[in-house]
Each structure stands twice: as C-alpha cells, then as structure tokens.
C-alpha cells in the first residue's frame, strides 16, 4: 500500500494527538472522581484504559516515522512531524500520571476531607489544560497555546498551597496521609506541565520559535 500523502499524514497526526489529549483529560477526570468518592471500580477502569493512550502514541509515532521516511519533509512540515513525536510522549506521560492517581484511589486510603476541595480544583485546572491542549493540537491555534502557560500558574500556586497545608502546625492527619497528598499533588502538577509542553511544541511547530519569543 502506498503511503498517504504528507498533508493527509499531518492531518491524521494532529487529529490523533488531539484525541490523545481528550482521552487523558477524561482519564484524570475519572481518576479524580475515584479518588475523592472512593469509587474503586472507576479507578480500575482508568487503569485498564491506559493501554488505549499507549496505542494512540504508537500510532502517532508510526505515522510520523512514515512521513519522515517517505516524504522527507523540510522546514515547517518537519517541525510539525518532530514536535508530534515529542508531544505524543508528553501526552502518554499524562496518561501514566492519571493512572497513578487511579492507583492511589484504589489503595483504599481516603484523603482527609479538608483537602478534597483543593484536589477537586487541581483536577479541574489539569483537565481544562488537557482539553485546551487537545484543541491546540487539532487547530494549531498559537494564541490559545500561549494561554496555557498562564493557566498553569494557577496550578503551581495551588501546588505550593498544598505544601503549606501539610507543613502547617495544625496538620492532624499524620504522615501517611501527608505522603499520599504530596505525591498526588505532584502528579497533578506534572500532568499540567506536560499539557503546557504540548502547547509549546505546537507553537514551535507553527512558528519555528519557542513561546517565550512570541509577543502575545
């Protein structure tokens, strides 16, 4: 079978990357529900669903490698292919982090009620970032891509706030809960970081420059 023409491959790659972001957004959403509501079946579903993300990543890499092999793209098209290969790695990692949240939910050590609202908010920010990253991947909208950086600041602030809560003298839930919360907060923060990276890769693919150099 002859390879698809390059424009078709590029469109397929964008679509698949978008789908990957949407899938991991859903996974983190469900993992968070499982975590906050103690729903172990839901946690198991997230764990089982991670293979889909890995398969999508393999598909992106397969098409990207074919594009390099058969069409030897240059300039903007080459950047687009390479940035897709890198982005697919980031989104796969987001899937792994959602999986870690689900695994924590399945461990049957519920989080103290006083941190539920913070985790709900971290999840909302992270899922939002992944949904936006999906749109950026599909539409290659550079303005939206730059917005993600600002959204991520809210996540960083919340992440820092969590440590403040744990280190405060009034913390009464003991060390195991503090360790769980430390790692979980890190998973959300890393998830958000990878979403930002996906958006930055898109800016780079479209403009040939890192987002910091874009006057928006």
């Amino acid at each position: 079978m002859p390879p698809d023409p390059l424009p078709q491959q590029l469109a397929d790659i964008s679509e698949l990357l978008g789908r990957m972001c949407t899938v991991v957004a859903g996974a983190l959403q469900r993992a968070t529900c499982a975590l906050l509501e103690g729903r172990e079946r839901l946690a198991q579903q997230v764990v089982a669903g991670d293979a889909q993300v890995d398969a999508l990543r393999a598909q992106v890499e397969g098409i990207a490698t074919d594009a390099l092999l058969f069409h030897a793209p240059v300039a903007g098209d080459l950047r687009r292919v390479v940035s897709a290969i890198r982005s697919a790695g980031d989104v796969e990692r987001m899937g792994d982090l959602a999986l870690h949240v689900a695994e924590a939910a399945g461990r049957g050590r519920p989080l103290p009620a006083e941190v539920h609202a913070d985790f709900a908010e971290m999840a909302r920010l992270a899922v939002d970032l992944a949904v936006k990253a999906a749109e950026v991947a599909r539409t290659r909208n550079v303005v939206l891509a730059v917005e993600l950086d600002t959204d991520d600041d809210a996540m960083d602030a919340l992440h820092a706030h969590m440590f403040g809560v744990l280190m405060a003298d009034g913390w009464s839930h003991g060390v195991p809960a503090a360790v769980d919360i430390t790692l979980l907060a890190r998973y959300y923060e890393r998830f958000a970081d990878h979403a930002v990276t996906v958006a930055r890769e898109t800016v780079y693919a479209v403009t040939g420059r890192e987002p910091d150099a874009i006057p928006i």
Binding site: V82, L166, V175, V179
Partner: protein, 218 residues
C-alpha cells in the same frame, strides 16, 4: 574513510552520550550536596543545569539538520528519532538532579535527611549515577546486553524506592511530616531519574532491532 553523513550520525550519538555524562555528574554532586549538607555543591548543580539544556538544543539542531538534509532511512532514521527522544529523557534527568540540589539548598543549613535515612539515598544516588553512565555507554556501543543490564539495575532502584515508602509509612517514623514530605518527593526524583535512563537504553534496543522491548512499567 567515513563519509560526512556517518560522521554526523556519530556526532549526534557522541553529543547524547556526553549529555549522559553531564547528568551523571549532576546527580552525583546533587546527592553529595544532600548527604553532606553542602550548599556550594548544590549551587553548582543548579547553575550547571543550563549546560544540559544547551547540549539538548544542540543535539536537536543536529537531528533536524540530518532529517532535513540527509533524509535518512531504516536504522539511520531510527537513530535520529531515538536521539530526539533520548535528548528529552536526558534533559529531564538533569532537571531531576536539579530538584535534588534545590531541596538541599531550600533546607540549608538544616539537613534534609535524618541520619538513618542517608544510607538509602547514598545508594539511590549510586544506582542512579551508574544508570546514567551505563546509558551513555549504551548510546556509544549499541550493545543490547548492556542495554538489558540497565533494566535489572533499575530493579534495585525500585526496591529502594519501595523500601523508602515503607519506612515513611511505618508507625515508628519519628521525624514528623516535613521531612517525610521531602523524602517522599526526593525518592520519587531518583526513581524517575533511573526510569529515564532505562528509557534511553530501550530506545537503543529499538535502534538496533527495529522493535521496542516490552512496555516500560512506570
């Protein structure tokens, strides 16, 4: 005589192997800064991290030039694609060494680690640094047996990581929440560092065989 193209490919591999050596040194110093409460060492790691980022940028430029000008196929294409992935992994290893150094700096002059925890981190540091050095060797040699060796070395890191958590979660833990939070994150940094080294070696397996080894469990 080797042609210019082959030289470019070797140059790319050399750049990545050098990057592994750089992040191995960074983790070695970061671990010492943590264990010996040495602020100056921590600062060195923190200021040297831009060098890793620079080597990555250079490696990526080389990879792009190869793709654009030589349109490599087969094994050569796999080398270039793997180099792009590898550069990302190794840069991340540098970031993780940086995080360890930042933890040492943040608590200075207080030690981050209680004395009885230090041996575990000395060992995690040793295993991590060895993995980075071995990953660099594998990039140069493309030796599949050496690549497989990284996976079993990583099991030692996973065991240490798991053990660290059982220590923290034990009811006899007497150092309170603050150190436990620091240690939980630090142990994770070492474990992730090792995972990225293994990922680099796995990419080399893909270069040589055209197939990725089974899924990496993270």
């Amino acid at each position: 005589m080797r042609d210019a193209y082959q030289e470019q490919l070797d140059d790319l591999a050399d750049g990545l192997a050098g990057m592994c050596a750089q992040v191995a040194r960074a983790m070695e110093k970061a671990t010492r800064s943590l264990l010996e409460v040495d602020l100056q060492l921590a600062e060195e790691v923190i200021s040297d991290d831009v060098r890793v980022d620079e080597i990555r940028a250079t490696a990526e430029e080389k990879a792009f030039a190869l793709l654009a000008l030589q349109a490599p196929v087969a094994t050569d294409l796999r080398i270039v694609v793997s180099a792009i992935h590898g550069a990302g992994d190794i840069e991340r290893m540098g970031d993780l060494a940086l995080h360890v150094a930042q933890a040492a700096r943040r608590r200075h002059p207080q030690p981050v680690l209680p004395d009885e925890i230090k041996p575990y981190f000395a060992e995690m540091g040793r295993v991590g640094v060895q993995l980075a050095i071995k990953a660099g060797d594998v990039i140069r040699s493309r030796d599949l047996a050496a690549a497989a060796q990284l996976e079993s070395d990583d099991d030692a890191m996973d065991d240490l990581h798991r053990h660290m958590f059982s220590v923290l979660m034990d009811r006899n833990w007497s150092h309170g929440v603050g150190p436990a939070v620091d240690i939980a994150l630090l142990a994770r940094f070492y474990e992730r560092y090792a995972d990225h080294a293994v990922a680099v070696a796995r990419r080399i397996v893909y270069v040589v065989t055209g197939r990725m080894p089974g899924p990496l469990t993270v």
